[in-house]
């Protein structure tokens, strides 16, 4: 397709690279631009005026600004999975093949049928929706809300996974500088020369800030030359880092700053192995905010017509991009700075239609310029704009004194003064203060270590920017102790800044305050009339300042109008609270690497790769991957595999990796005394070479965790925790050791990763172990009784620890070997156990056997059960102080009608049980009063050949044998179950002691 000619591009000038032409598409049409353009400047160069539609009325909108404060020119950038809604054309860097589309319009930008909303605009005033759509109630979700939702919103998200990658990084410096304008560069010079570590962040791709468009003379040379010399000097300083395409968006406690680096957004897609964007956490001792100021609009009728543009943006397009937003320009200003646009436009050979200046004291120099160039200077204000989606045609002016005038122009530059960029300085709830001479809020109460300099501090002159920036940089370097010479500060003259306050020109037609959200001056008046007088109420009622530009161009004008109608001063009215981020930041960047399978780290057991070779099915348990079962060829479902594994253990021998248990070495002369305080039962009297089951409470008396702890030496216990609580228990024990009982001589170390631990269970366990263990080790009951624990030698010279403990209820040992031998151990167990039919089993079979044995686990240790609830009330020592002992005695924890652990089995042996069913007394109607508990754990018991379960039931232990009702409306099931002893299998425990 043929590229459209760049009809609005100047023959020469600008910071674009004319040797690097680029093609791009907007709404399906192909255009040409240059390297160094933004999408906005390239559209302007091609004479495109209509770029978007507004939020509520779908009014045609053009380009208002040249930066990240842009409210209007939002596009969907890129296509497919990379589509980015609401992208500001003013900051999107042009690249070859760029595709963008206008948004919030249908069927097309030029002929947007949603613009019918404008017909209803007399009704669609601020907050109209709070007053209607209430009847009939059902209609809200069915009709009104879907219509509102479809009409609202702006661009469309891609709707499919973001194909690009993001990462996050840390940086550290003495002095962090936001902005590379004159103040920022001067600050970097001073700090860098002093020897400080400096990071300077600039959101633009080009460095120089307003110098890029406004130029000026610094140290006797043109600004561009000074900038390049300065950058050259900074490049020689080893600890000065300049980061362009990087926006400092937030400041957090302790001098931590958030920044977003758009690493590859200027390319069609990131190169292989590279990220799209990078989130920086920058730790800085000092921060100099040299983020500049934002020019503010004046509110008048038709001020949203495409072709009405901020004066500074207008000259930026002309000077920096050699693109002409208009050929015949009118300027509406209330301050001196606006006139720069006139100078720039004249310099580029453009026509000036008129200057409308609200000030009475236009300087003689400006009047002379006007006379020379032949345009009128009108004292007054713009009252209206004639034009439409194709731009401005005519401007009507009310002259001071009441007369009216009209001027023909195709572009209107507007300057209502400048607002320092107070975002960063205000994010810790510092409220900016009003400075009368510039009629703007300036930073106050900045977070510790942060200062503002230059325009961000309300100093608008070039000389002041340089001197403030330099002084701030030097001071910021000094406080962390860098006292090198900062050298000579750069100097420049200061321009005069004179301004006559003007916020709003009364007139006919809609006058916009917040362009994107279509908030007009009359909306603000209405809100005030209805009592929304607090500036925060105003914001919430009208949505002023809540659009994607975060009110950068609208907030101050809005509160000024509110102040005027409520008869208060602007400082009395105050600002809303400033909220980070300074510019919107992609959610993907905050996530960085942590998405998809990398969302969280993964922990693998020592036998993981062996299990994977066996085709094990894995389950996520916290961060762990655990073998859930080991399917074999021909098995039709998990239940068949699990049933086989259980039967194999109960009849022969099997093993299971239990390395995920938390393991803690408890050392020291007071180790026993320490354990006595953290467990409800006593451990100081445990013999060396023995293990004991222990239960811990929280201080509020509820059960915290359980596990077995063995005494390996007089001053060495080996404590185990549940898999889930390994980390929290370690932290809790360290708290007990360091804070509660510091007088005890005890040391704790996590050895969870040091040991590969396996449970070997089944009647043939000893037979299998004998093949592995050194023949000199006696494993018979007399030498190694139930709950014995000691180190043994394995064949081949490896040392292992053996614990005669059983979770399955079978004759069983747990064996620990140093973790790097874990893989070898399972392979050797398989080899040695082949003759016994050894069977690896997973967590499902482990769970089945623990339910058969009535052992409590996660579903019962749910943080709301007491030791007595779990059937362990008698373990609670009455002879010692331990964590939780007092609160466990409170009346409700000791009540007779508590829900306690009991077994359940269906009266119909074929019936399947499900966890989460409620227990209702037989014959009672299910209801909140009749629910007496719920089913916590269920399994199919191969041993009993039926489903069984555990439940927490009121007075359950007194009701063994009672038939109750399992009520499960969620799954449409109701059936009878019998309450029974929770120990379904070998209640005497003969097998595990055998």
């Amino acid at each position: 397709m043929v590229s459209h000619a760049q009809t609005h591009r100047l023959e020469s000038g600008g910071l674009i690279d004319r040797s690097a032409p680029l093609n791009f598409r907007f709404d399906g049409k192909t255009f040409a631009g240059f390297q160094g353009d933004t999408l906005a400047s390239a559209l302007i160069a091609n004479g495109v005026k209509l770029v978007g539609r507004s939020f509520k009325y779908h009014r045609p909108r053009g380009i208002l600004t040249s930066g990240s404060e842009e409210p209007n020119a939002l596009v969907e950038l890129r296509t497919g999975a990379r589509r980015e809604p609401n992208t500001k054309a003013t900051t999107a860097e042009l690249y070859d093949g760029l595709e963008a589309a206008s948004q919030n319009c249908w069927p097309s930008l030029r002929h947007d049928l949603m613009a019918v909303n404008q017909l209803f605009s007399p009704i669609f005033v601020a907050g109209f929706y709070y007053k209607t759509f209430m009847w009939p109630a059902k209609f809200w979700e069915a009709i009104y809300e879907p219509a509102i939702r479809r009409a609202a919103g702006l661009g469309r998200a891609a709707g499919v996974a973001d194909p690009d990658h993001y990462d996050k990084a840390w940086a550290h410096c003495d002095v962090l500088i936001a902005g590379s304008g004159p103040a920022g560069l001067a600050a970097a010079l001073a700090a860098g020369r002093s020897g400080a570590r400096v990071i300077l962040c600039e959101e633009d791709f080009a460095l120089g800030g307003r110098l890029l468009a406004d130029g000026g003379m610094i140290d006797g040379m043109p600004a561009a030359e000074w900038t390049s010399r300065t950058l050259a000097e900074l490049a020689t300083l080893p600890d000065v880092r300049i980061m362009n395409r990087t926006t400092l968006f937030g400041v957090y406690d302790g001098g931590t700053y958030g920044a977003i680096e758009r690493v590859n957004d200027h390319l069609p897609s990131p190169p292989e192995h590279q990220v799209r964007q990078r989130l920086w956490r920058i730790v800085a001792k000092r921060c100099v905010v040299a983020a500049g100021a934002i020019e503010r609009p004046i509110v008048f009728a038709g001020n949203d017509t495409p072709g009405v543009m901020m004066a500074s943006a207008m000259r930026t397009y002309v000077a920096r991009y050699a693109a002409t937003p208009a050929k015949r320009i009118a300027l509406f200003t209330n301050n001196e700075d606006g006139w720069r646009t006139v100078e720039t436009a004249l310099g580029a050979g453009l026509q000036i239609a008129a200057v409308v200046d609200a000030r009475l004291d236009v300087s003689a120099a400006h009047r002379a310029l006007a006379a020379k160039a032949g345009f009128p200077v009108l004292n007054g204000s713009v009252a209206g704009v004639e034009g439409g989606k194709d731009g401005v045609r005519k401007i009507s002016i009310s002259l001071t004194g009441g007369a009216r005038a009209e001027v023909e122009a195709d572009g209107l530059a507007v300057s209502g003064g400048w607002n320092p960029a107070v975002g960063l300085t205000s994010y810790h709830r510092g409220r900016p203060k009003w400075q009368d001479d510039i009629s703007a809020f300036v930073p106050d109460g900045a977070p510790p270590g942060m200062v503002a300099a230059g325009a961000a501090n309300g100093a608008f002159g070039l000389g002041a920017c340089l001197s403030q920036g330099f002084a701030a940089g030097a001071a910021a370097a000094q406080s962390p102790g860098h006292n090198g010479s900062a050298g000579t500060p750069p100097v420049a003259d200061d321009e005069t800044f004179s301004l006559t306050r003007l916020w709003h020109v009364a007139g006919k037609g809609k006058a916009f305050v917040d362009y994107q959200h279509d908030v007009t001056a009359s909306d603000i008046e209405l809100a005030q009339r209805e009592g929304f007088e607090s500036v925060e109420h105003l914001k919430r009622y009208t949505t002023l300042g809540m659009a994607t530009d975060q009110g950068k161009t609208s907030n101050v004008a809005g509160l000024a109008i509110l102040a005027a109608v409520s008869g208060k001063s602007i400082p009395e009215t105050g600002t809303t609270i400033y909220r980070p981020p300074y510019v919107p930041v992609a959610i993907g960047a905050f996530a960085g690497h942590h998405r998809d399978e990398d969302f969280h780290a993964t922990r693998l057991t020592p036998s993981h790769h062996w299990a994977a070779e066996q085709g094990a099915v894995f389950v996520d348990t916290g961060l762990w991957k655990r073998a859930q079962w080991y399917p074999r060829a021909g098995e039709k479902d998990w239940l068949e595999s699990v049933t086989r594994e259980v039967k194999a253990v109960r009849s022969g021998v099997g093993f299971c990796d239990v390395s995920t248990l938390g393991k803690i070495d408890v050392h020291g002369p007071d180790a026993g005394a320490f354990l006595d305080r953290v467990y409800i039962n006593t451990f100081s009297n445990l013999a060396v070479g023995k293990a004991r089951y222990g239960l811990m409470l929280r201080e509020d008396g509820m059960v915290y965790d359980d596990g077995t702890t063995s005494r390996l030496a007089e001053d060495h216990y080996f404590l185990t925790t549940t898999t889930a609580k390994a980390g929290p228990v370690m932290q809790h024990l360290e708290f007990c050791r360091q804070v509660l009982f510091p007088q005890l001589d005890v040391q704790l170390t996590s050895v969870s990763d040091q040991w590969a631990q396996f449970s070997i269970a089944g009647p043939k366990t000893r037979d299998l172990l004998r093949e592995i263990v050194d023949p000199a080790e006696d494993l018979l009951n007399e030498a190694f009784p139930f709950m014995g624990a000691r180190e043994v030698a394995l064949r081949g010279g490896i040392k292992a620890r053996l614990f005669r403990i059983s979770f399955s209820g079978e004759m069983a040992f747990e064996i620990s070997v140093p973790a790097r031998y874990g893989d070898a151990l399972v392979r050797n167990l398989m080899l040695a156990g082949k003759q016994f039919g050894v069977t690896p089993y997973g967590t499902e079979a482990l769970g089945v056997m623990r339910i058969e044995k009535g052992h409590v686990a996660g579903p019962e240790l749910n943080g709301t059960t007491t030791a007595a609830d779990l059937g362990h009330g008698k373990m609670m020592s009455t002879k010692k102080d331990f964590i939780g002992c007092v609160m466990a005695g409170r009346e409700a924890l000791a009540a007779a009608d508590r829900q306690v652990v009991v077994g359940i089995k269906p009266t119909d042996k074929k019936r399947r049980l499900r966890s989460g069913a409620h227990v209702i007394p037989k014959g009672e109607i299910p209801g909140s009063a009749s629910s007496q508990g719920y089913v916590t754990s269920v399994c199919f018991s191969p041993t009993l050949d039926q489903w069984i379960g555990l439940a927490l039931v009121e007075r359950g232990r007194e009701r063994i044998g009672e038939i109750v009702h399992a009520h499960d409306p969620l799954r449409g099931e109701d059936y009878d179950v019998e309450l029974c002893n929770p120990v379904f299998y070998d209640p005497d425990g003969g097998r595990q002691r055998g």
Partner: protein
């Protein structure tokens, strides 16, 4: 937030975990139930400088007693818990 661990130096917030008010002291064995209730449940919930227990979980595993202003998050002092670094005790 950044915390200057007395053992490790300045570290970022993510390395630490929080327990809460360090003022309540665990009553000695045999204390009345009301005292224990007070220790476990009641809080001054100070708006201002507050003494707190933090744990350098992602670092040296020391429990710390930190004075921090709950209105500004400013940290004015950090000291180890009595049992952190106890090798010097009595030595």
């Amino acid at each position: 937030m950044r915390i200057v661990c007395p053992f490790c130096g300045e570290r970022e917030l993510g390395e630490f975990s929080y327990l809460g008010d360090a003022k309540p002291v665990r009553p000695a064995a045999g204390a009345p139930e009301d005292d224990v209730f007070d220790y476990v449940y009641l809080r001054d919930n100070i708006a201002g400088a507050m003494s707190e227990h933090w744990y350098h979980a992602g670092g040296c595993r020391a429990w710390l007693k930190i004075t921090r202003n709950t209105l500004t998050h400013e940290i004015s002092s950090v000291e180890p818990a009595a049992g952190a670094g106890a090798a010097e005790v009595g030595a």
